[in-house]
């Protein structure tokens, strides 16, 4: 299915003008928190850092729901699992030579297996963009199928890294391919590329998910990731999912927002809606 950039961007921009105020804003903020994969993917991540991330994930603030999952590197999965014992927060792990995906298949599978054995409930894999851009879509497809086989019942999110693909047509083709290969979720970005999630890319991926559901009867999810820092941006993504996929997708089962600093902004905006005033940044724990 080809994609026309002009009308796609017009549509995305028009969805971004939806006015989300008062009760809608509060509901949206709660939903964004419930659908969040609170993420830390830095080289300097440590067990201590993961513990504090998990504490915040489980109880972001009084009266606020916990996030859907924390997302960490495979070596920190067991620490996260430990810290989240007794909560409903899941542990997601990036795998398959994240973020480049440039490793032999057996390394990617071992990476995935390790994360699952350490207790990961969800795997975020990357596609091999090099192979995709070289036209070797079969290899991309086969990789996903192989990783999915290792995952079995563990939820698999497939990162398309849209910022490294050659445009919306590629995004749509990669999305269709990942969905056909059995992805439970398709995810926009690693957060490590120059261009992260954008509204038109999200629209395109929603359309792929919608048509996949229509064609096969199987509902796949969408994960927005990378660069989502403000409440306003997060709410626009909710609008996009609501209007293109429908209310049925507005649950952590089918929608995730991968983010780090976004949570603080959501909490601050929530407080503002409740009290009418912005609290100082230091009222929100930083990590």
């Amino acid at each position: 299915m080809s994609v026309d950039a002009v009308t796609l961007e017009t549509r995305a921009n028009s969805l971004a003008t939806r006015s989300i105020k008062t009760s809608a804003k509060v509901a949206g903020i709660h939903l964004a928190i419930r659908c969040m994969d609170l993420t830390s993917l830095e080289g300097k991540d440590s067990v201590g850092r993961v513990r504090s991330l998990c504490a915040k994930a489980a109880r972001p603030a009084p009266g606020v729901p916990s996030v859907a999952a924390v997302c960490v590197y495979p070596s920190l999965v067991s620490a996260a699992k430990e810290a989240l014992r007794g909560t409903l927060v899941r542990v997601a792990s990036v795998a398959t030579a994240f973020p480049s995906g440039l490793a032999p298949l057996d390394v990617k599978l071992a990476d995935t297996r390790d994360a699952i054995e350490a207790g990961a409930d969800e795997i975020d894999m990357v596609i091999d963009r090099g192979a995709f851009l070289a036209g070797d879509e079969q290899r991309v497809f086969d990789d996903i199928v192989a990783v999915k086989r290792v995952c079995a019942n563990v939820r698999l999110k497939v990162i398309l890294e849209s910022g490294e693909l050659g445009g919306y047509d590629d995004v749509r083709r990669a999305a269709d391919l990942a969905l056909d290969a059995g992805a439970d979720f398709i995810k926009t970005s690693t957060g490590k590329a120059g261009t992260n999630a954008t509204f038109p890319v999200a629209v395109t991926m929603c359309e792929a998910i919608r048509e996949h559901a229509r064609r096969t009867g199987r509902r796949a999810g969408l994960k927005i990731a990378g660069g989502v820092k403000t409440t306003k941006t997060a709410l626009t993504y909710l609008v996009i999912v609501k209007e293109i996929l429908g209310d049925g997708w507005l649950t952590p089962q089918y929608l995730r927002i991968g983010a780090s600093s976004l949570l603080d902004d959501l909490l601050m905006q929530l407080e503002k809606e409740q009290t009418g005033a912005y609290a100082g940044l230091d009222y929100f724990p930083k990590d």
Partner: protein, 478 residues
Amino acid sequence: MTIFEYAPAPETTRANVRKEYGLFIDGKWMAPASGRYFETVNPATEEVLAKVGHGDATDVDRAVRAARRAYEKYWRKMKPAERAKYLYRISRTLVERSRELAVLETMDGGKPVKESRDFDVPMSAAHFFYYAGWADKLEYAMRAGETPRPVGVAGQIVPWNFPLLMAAWKIAPALACGNTVVLKPAETTPLTALALAQIIEEADLPPGTVNVVTGDDTTGAALVEHEEVDKIAFTGSTEVGKRIARTTAGTRKRLTLELGGKAAHILFSDAPLDQAIEGVVNGIYFNQGHVCCAGSRLLVQESIHDEVVVRLTERIQTLRLGDPLDKNTDIGAINSKSQRDKILDLVRSGIDEGATLVQQACQIPERGYYFPASFFTGVQQSHRIAREEIFGPVLSVLTFRTADEAVEKANNTPYGLSAGVWTDKGSKNMYIAQRLKAGVVWCNTFNLFDPSSPFGGYRESGFGREGGVHGLKEYLAC
């Protein structure tokens, strides 16, 4: 668990509506000669917004004489760069007061404030900016050796679907070329034209350069018939356009007409379908379908007909119909009761003739004139809904098999204003576009406008162009 539903998001800017408006003639606000006023109604609430002066032949005569004096005394003699300054001043004020004008346009006409805010008002300002730039460069709009000269007094009659924008389309090029203007706004939507008159007054244009005479069709007829008018520019129905053409025939008056349409929107099976559906939705539901260039006949390649119908049915359910002043409203109020009655009549004829009606399921507000987003499947070329302009949010879906059949069906109408083509294949786009008898052909998009791009039709959609360098020529003698 809270559900993510949009809360009401009413536009909070207030528009300053006077209780009563006189006529703007010779730089002054004056009562109509007859002392008669008519009411203008908010179609979303059926409440009266204001009383507006009913101009008659006496008022038109005053206005035309004032325009003639201003033309001879000031405007034609003014240095072109000075004329440009006035136009820039008008455009800047339109930008400064954009939110208030958007609210006013929405209150008087019923269109969603989203559209008046993002389209009507910015595009109106853009037209003044664009033609301001032309004012001192007119010789470049002429053929070599020709000297640009204004035509004189222009009588301009504008419709109710884009009241401010149509006024801007007409006034800006006329003034840039050195003409003076008598504008007759539509009866149901006079308020933004009167607000524009206030802006023109504040911009301190020489008195009489622009005059605004509100009224009904008799006011328009008086303007068309006035001997001192050098040019008539009319946008409106084909029926009235024909009448004007008959009246001006054999006179020295120049005439441009921008009339109705029944545009074909052609969808090939290789189109980028998700965007094509958006194009179709924009093509017919923009401004409740009160658009002369609306893509009101959808010609779908037979192999994708069923899929298109499924997608379109789903898509129209997500359109938000309601209070036009709510920032999330996609479909506002029908402009007037009589227009809604006309839409109802044509929709009934569609059902009677055997087509199948599909509509969005939604709550219709109790007060106000509304009509849900609708389309007909199983439409035949002979049906009234395939031939007559509905001017409402109602699309007729027909099918074709080959490119040549698409062209034949598209051109099988007395109109020729616009058309749209969706295919991922560039050569096919060009092949079809060349063969379509329409003034504007949009390829893989629809309803895209720019002041630099000419707009206009042929056959029963009228003649003459507005916008771009072509739009200047209608206001220049040589």
